[in-house]
């Protein structure tokens, strides 16, 4: 990739969760590069995940899912793969949606679409209204407690401009996080799915369908269970799609309010 081109291919991530070993190097590299503050010591008792979720100060989050049935869960006896138990690990990140709700609802224009097709917050514009937070169908973006402004993964916008891969992809030791041109990543993901599906029928690509509720993701995932198991929505949808209908309902209600007031004032035989 060259750095000085005006027009770029859409860049993105392909996170192949079957390769993730849960080392959290991506979380650390992200925090380091983006100078994000620590979130404090907090023991969740949820497997090896003490991060919990993506937030304004955590832009990569590694999820740990332990799927072991019945008695073998007592941790005293090791469980063999053949017995059906398994670990799922997955590094979650902003999806950089094709139709991004956070970007749509931002009242200041602080969120914008970069030349790489990614969605980025301009820190000097955001006034911390917090509207993007409930708007995101994935619960990704959040307000930083230290700055009072919204923040999330930028796909390392500064590194991309210098022709460098995002810090998490660079740090990932297993190539579970792959960075590149989105069209190429999609092809790679589909090929990988064919391989994995032979071993695990639950394997599925998440975010590759451009006809989906957010028009496809800029960050694809290969999962081996349903999205909700990883804390991801099964059928995310950009709510601004329904905005024309909502504005219409609000206009009708406003008209009804006006009519009601007119009736209350005029629809009477009271003497003035």
């Amino acid at each position: 990739m060259t750095t000085n081109e005006v027009a770029h291919e859409r860049m993105g991530f392909f996170t192949d969760t079957t390769l993730c070993i849960g080392c959290k190097a991506c979380e650390v590299a992200c925090k380091e590069w983006n100078q994000l503050p620590a979130d404090g010591y907090h023991f969740s008792a949820e497997s090896y995940d003490n991060t919990g979720a993506l937030s304004g100060t955590t832009w990569r989050h590694v999820a740990f899912i332990e799927q072991f049935e019945g008695e073998s869960r007592d941790l005293k006896t090791p469980v063999a793969f053949e017995e059906g138990g398994r670990w799922l690990m997955s590094s979650d990140v902003c999806k950089h949606c094709t139709h991004a709700a956070c970007l749509d609802v931002c009242p200041t224009g602080a969120l914008f679409r970069s030349e790489f097709g990614t969605v980025v917050v301009q820190d000097d514009i955001c006034n911390g209204c917090g509207y993007c937070v409930p708007a995101c169908p994935f619960g990704v973006i959040d307000r930083r407690p230290d700055t009072g402004r919204a923040a999330k993964c930028t796909l390392c916008y500064d590194r991309l401009k210098d022709g460098q891969p995002p810090a998490c992809a660079k740090a990932c030791p297993t190539e579970s996080i792959q960075y590149g041109e989105l069209s190429e990543l999609r092809a790679r993901a589909e090929k990988r799915l064919e391989t994995v599906a032979v071993i695990d029928a639950r394997a599925q690509l998440y975010g590759a369908d451009e006809r989906g509720g957010v028009g496809g993701f800029g960050a694809l995932f290969l999962l081996t269970d349903d999205p909700e198991v990883y804390g991801l929505p099964p059928a995310p949808r950009v709510t601004t799609r329904d905005l024309p209908q909502m504005w219409k309902s609000a206009a009708l209600a406003a008209a009804a309010l006006g009519a009601g007031i007119l009736i209350a004032a005029f629809g009477t035989r009271d003497a003035d």
Binding site: E46, P107, G231, M246, S249, F266
Partner: protein, 296 residues
């Protein structure tokens, strides 16, 4: 498909709003203010000058309080004016800020002339302007909260504007009646009864259509308690106004206060229903699974 929805340690999938109660309060004050402006303009046309005066001044006061509430909730309040650096129809908050700003100017002029000036052409134009802006000011807030991934809000998008419009009319009628004689408050009483009944019906229809899953956040926890209180107060207000409002000033004032409380509780109920529906992943997962939308 499993009958019990699966999740990641029961953690929320979407993030709920991070607004303070300022915003719930704004939903109430903005509605009261907007509907007051519209009521004021109509009262002016009907030559009900005491009502018009009360409404005009209340609308301006409400606009000022609304702006203060909105600014107080920002992470960077000093950057409030960044809201007005763009015009963005896809952002209900941006559209709403423009409406509130224009409303604040028109209603401010109308109120200033009401208090210190004459009832000239400028006041008529400003009053009409604030009335026209006051109507969308009362209902856009429904779009504001419905345009989120919060299930109990987004799926109620068809009914919420009507609930908010009725609640706005109820509170405007009640508030302004407090400052008027029984004779002058006749319009307020009719508005209260009509709007109160409409609000009760609209809320009920909304929760019924949401169904067992997404109707639940409106009837449990904080939201449920607020909804119950709102219903009780609104029913009391409507009945008292209809039966005794004309005869007793005390009963009318009591009913007005009950109506204001009811409208306020209704807004807090909706506010907390959103919070509750975002906090539990089952509302997101079960709804999306049931909707049978394509995986994207």
């Amino acid at each position: 498909m499993p009958t019990k929805s699966r999740s990641y340690y029961g953690r929320p999938i979407v993030k709920g709003h991070i607004w303070e109660d300022y915003i719930a309060l704004y939903l109430f004050v903005g509605g009261l203010s907007g509907a007051s402006a519209a009521l004021g303009a109509v009262a002016r046309a009907r030559k009900r000058n005491f009502l018009a005066r009360s409404c005009t001044i209340s609308a301006a006061g409400g606009a000022a309080i609304s702006a203060a509430l909105l600014i107080a909730d920002l992470g960077n309040p000093e950057r409030f004016l960044h809201m007005l650096r763009v015009v963005k129809i896809t952002s209900p908050m941006n559209v709403g800020t423009w409406i509130l700003s224009a409303f604040g100017i028109t209603t401010g002029i109308a109120a200033a002339l009401e208090m210190f000036g004459s009832h000239g052409k400028i006041q008529t134009v400003a009053g009409l302007g604030s009335a026209i802006l006051g109507l969308p000011l009362s209902t856009y807030t429904a779009v504001l909260i419905a345009d989120t991934a919060t299930p109990a809000w987004h799926e109620a998008r068809a009914e919420l504007p009507l609930v908010f419009a009725a609640s706005a009319a109820l509170s405007a009628g009640a508030w302004n009646s407090l400052f008027l004689s029984r004779h002058d408050a006749a319009v307020c009483r009719r508005l209260m009864v009509g709007a109160g009944v409409c609000e009760l019906i609209a809320h009920r229809r909304m929760v019924q259509r949401l169904g067992a899953l997404l109707g639940e956040p409106y009837s449990i926890g904080k939201a449920g308690r607020y909804a119950k209180t709102a219903r009780g107060l609104t029913v009391t207000a409507v009945l008292t106004t209809a039966l005794f409002g004309k005869r007793s000033r005390v009963a009318a004032a009591g009913a007005a206060l009950a109506a204001l409380g009811g409208a306020l509780c209704e807004r807090f109920s909706v506010f907390h229903a959103g919070t509750q529906s975002a906090a539990d992943p089952k509302y997101v997962v079960d709804h999306q699974r049931a909707a049978g939308q394509r995986n994207s």
